[in-house]
Symmetry: C2
Subunit: 527 residues, 2 copies
């Protein structure tokens, strides 16, 4: 039984609002459950509860916060097949993918639990006093990160578990000490309801203040807008489209107070194929990229939507192998009818544009299912590409555009014409790399992550990950939304000057009771 | 001889534009020099040069960047008295203060040189590969901070050296690897011209790309607006008033691309006087605060503009001692006629407001000098204060409002009614502190720095400093504009995945050639 009530402060908010239903995108059929559209009162209640909870939650001991995060992971894991099956039904994504995503989601929660428990993430910096200094004595100053307050998280359509209700945004915000209010993505409300219940149960089991978590449903834009504009909201995290992200940023600009709004707005993730590897391995590179372009029906922020290469017989072989692989790629169910329509329309439109030449289109379309993706690739000359800004706009789905350059200098010009990206990739023979450092630097200049000889799809969840990039890939290239670094979006440093030792946070006390790494008078130490 | 030409790419841009003059605020007289108002062509030239220089400057070796920063410090130190005297003439601040500020300015440059040379600030994080992992092999990912691009710095009126042309914003941006374009504060153009020349000389001496530094004059708002809106600008740093900072933020919102804009907009820096210390030390606390309120004619972002206490005979003694000290405080020259007019008008206006009671006003006014500050203090009841939002607005100058509370609970309510602050302070006897943890937590909740038994004026430049705070103290509480942490406003992480070791930045190479601290597979090490 899916409970379609909004969750406010870890409890169901019973109401008789209008409701909406979930769909199976592969059939168009309604799924079980009716989801109550939240209203202004609920927004206020959720934020009042979060603001009150923040005063308590920010002081919860690291070990207890870790227990809470692990309890969420356990509750989600306990849902197991029920959750996976519901996510499959709502997203059209395969069971294996969602089973993996469930593991990733619980894994992220454990990762943040470990981070919080180890404790050094607070970046404690201590400069001790020198009362003898002239002309002025030097004070004792101790600084560490503290949470900023209630965070509004928007669920993403394309990761119903790992970037949704208990995804990386929620996990990092809760780990930092911030309460979370989730605006559910209407494409997977049932999945969201199940996970929301799991978080609420975990909060109660581990004695967290109720206001630490709320979850609101809406199939329109009203509730999201109210949440972003609410003065008690202290940060916003969003993963989705450029248009969605920009709309949120504009709303945030109407606020009286300025708050951090982190929007991850996708990108086209350019891939450079260098000449020698095209010569030696055109076919295997094509096979790798055919899989990457069509993985999850191309519905990844890191989908390789742009491939750059210099014309050569190697490139011809690559195009022919890639074209064949795309042609026989079976169609897949896209996440929503809206996404499917958008993909179909944008890919049809660009193919009709001057200079764009269709190379291949999947012919293996399942006509018995709805919202089926049709993978396609095309080529364009470098000067046409540079002249038409719209050719570098993201087409969300199994699509990639191959830019054919006359020479390496032109290829570099193409890179330099591009906006910010989440990732860039170079495919190369090892000994040709050092001849192309200009290209390598240009790739790093525009992206958050640069990859050698692999595909951009697949984002490792780890401390070194940077999932972010210069605008318009994100609204703030200084942060990541994947990996432990994601926590720093929701914290601010506080410095204590000449404070009484016993009243300092444990992390800053002289005896270092938590045994964390600290920088004391410019030396890193665990003393 | 003061050269009043704009500096573009470390060279004078000769032109025959309109010019403006500098004033001595203590006399109203013109000072030597005519400063060319910059124009749109100059803005474009400066940003084109900065963008081109960035490609080179970002790859300059840490040791060479450190040499550049130290050369700036040497060139500024070499100006010595000439610079101090000009700053005195333009600001009305005393020689001793500006001599100290010169030391602070060169000190900051050396601090960033040391930071860059030591190298660990890039926060290198390495997660090594595990090719055996199933179902997917684990890639090798290495991440570090890299500079974001040309930074526009606005000189602040109240620190003609330490927060101006070669102040903390410029020093941290240059240390990060970002070129800098300074929009000069029109109150001290001659000081700015001298420092701009020093930076240009240092850049040439140490072989930096010319576009690494430009300096533009304007006595209006046009050039600042063009700089903020320019698409090649990648970040903005500003210290000044709430209205000035908000105007810049609004301009930035008109940009096509979203960039970080860090504005430090001052605050009223609430000070809580707890009962026992008022009982035991009312007079000495009053003496300390009379100095802090009037230091530099009260023209500090951290000036204590609000004092909170519970009514008692101790408070009466404090007010009487503070009142006497304020009465005999000699007037001082304010930075500009505009600042003086604003102070005079706002302090007069608030004194006439309901519930506000003037306690003392300086009677020691120098009538032979212009723009003289008149220190003043007043009291207000807590409920009047809470009911009138405008009573908590900053009055830039030697002014402080004492809020008289009925009891500690009401005092806490007053704190909770306040907006974000750069600092908060508590004056207390050691053994009364633990009885008031609610107050202490409330102070930390609203501020970037909390101080015990001292004054907020005086901002130590060190690694642990947090000079920033929740909105409206700054536009982004997650960053500081003083101390080594200031560098993180201008950098973004880049992750390299499965990259060739010899092509990685030195900071990430396997052998750790720079011998910096790195986090490798979750362990901090210098290996």
């Amino acid at each position: 039984m899916i409970n379609g009530n909004n969750i406010i402060a870890c409890d169901y908010a019973l109401a008789d609002n209008e409701s909406f239903k979930a769909f199976d995108p592969s059939t168009g059929a309604h799924l079980e459950g009716a989801f109550q559209k939240a209203n202004t009162l609920m927004v206020n209640n959720a934020l009042n509860a979060a603001t009150a909870a923040f005063k308590v939650y920010k002081h919860v001991a690291p070990a207890d916060k870790a227990k809470f995060l692990r309890a969420i992971a356990s509750e989600i894991a306990a849902l197991g097949e029920i959750l996976v099956n519901r996510a499959v039904a709502e997203s059209g994504l395969p069971v294996a993918r969602l089973t993996g995503e469930l593991g990733r989601t619980t894994g992220q929660l454990h990762m943040f639990a470990n981070l919080v428990e180890e404790g050094s993430w607070v970046d404690a910096v201590i400069d001790t006093a020198n009362p003898e200094r002239t002309p002025l004595p030097k004070p004792d100053i101790r600084r560490m990160y503290s949470p900023i307050g209630p965070v509004v998280v928007f669920g993403a359509s394309n990761f119903p578990l790992a970037f949704s209700v208990a995804g990386g945004d929620t996990a990092s915000a809760l780990a930092s000490g911030c309460p979370v209010i989730v605006k559910v993505h209407p494409a997977h409300p049932g999945t969201s309801a199940l996970v929301g219940q799991a978080i609420s149960k975990a909060a109660k089991e581990t004695g967290m203040p109720d206001g630490v978590f709320s979850l609101l449903f809406d199939d329109g834009y009203g509730i999201g807008a109210e949440l972003v504009k609410h003065e008690q909201t202290k940060a916003v995290a969003f993963t989705g489209s450029y248009h969605g992200g920009m709309a949120l940023l504009k709303m945030a600009q109407e606020r009286k107070s300025v708050i951090p709004v982190f929007t991850e707005m996708g990108s086209i993730n350019p891939v450079v194929l260098l000449p020698a590897i095209l010569d030696s391995q055109a076919e295997s590179v094509a096979a790798k990229y055919a899989s990457s372009i069509t993985l999850g029906a191309g519905q990844f922020c890191t989908n390789p939507g742009l491939i750059l290469a210099v014309k050569s017989t190697g490139l011809d072989r690559f195009l022919s192998a890639l074209g064949y692989a795309i042609e026989i790629t079976p169609s897949a169910t896209m996440l929503t009818t809206g996404i499917w329509k958008n993909y179909a329309s944008l890919s049809d439109k660009i193919i009709a544009e001057p200079g764009i030449k269709l190379i291949a289109k999947s012919t293996a379309v399942n006509t018995e299912k709805a919202n089926q993706s049709v993978a396609a690739i095309a080529t364009v000359g470098a000067s046409d590409f540079i002249a038409n800004k719209k050719y570098s706009e993201e087409i969300f789905g199994p699509w990639s555009l191959v830019v054919v350059c006359d020479n390496i200098a032109q290829l570099q010009q193409v890179i330099e014409s591009l906006d910010g990206q989440l990732t860039t990739t170079v495919m190369a023979e090892k000994d040709e790399l050092s001849k192309h450092t200009g290209i390598l630097n240009a790739l790093a200049d525009i992206s958050g992550r640069v990859i050698l000889n692999n595909v951009p799809t697949g984002v490792e969840v780890c401390a070194a990950m940077q999932h972010g990039g210069p605008f318009p890939a994100t609204s703030d290239s200084r942060f990541t939304s994947v990996g432990t670094g994601a926590i720093y979006r929701f914290v601010r440093p506080i410095a204590w000057q000449d404070w009484d030792d016993s009243l300092l946070p444990l992390e800053l006390q002289a005896a270092n009771p938590l045994k964390i790494w600290r920088q004391i008078d410019n030396n890193l130490t665990k003393d």
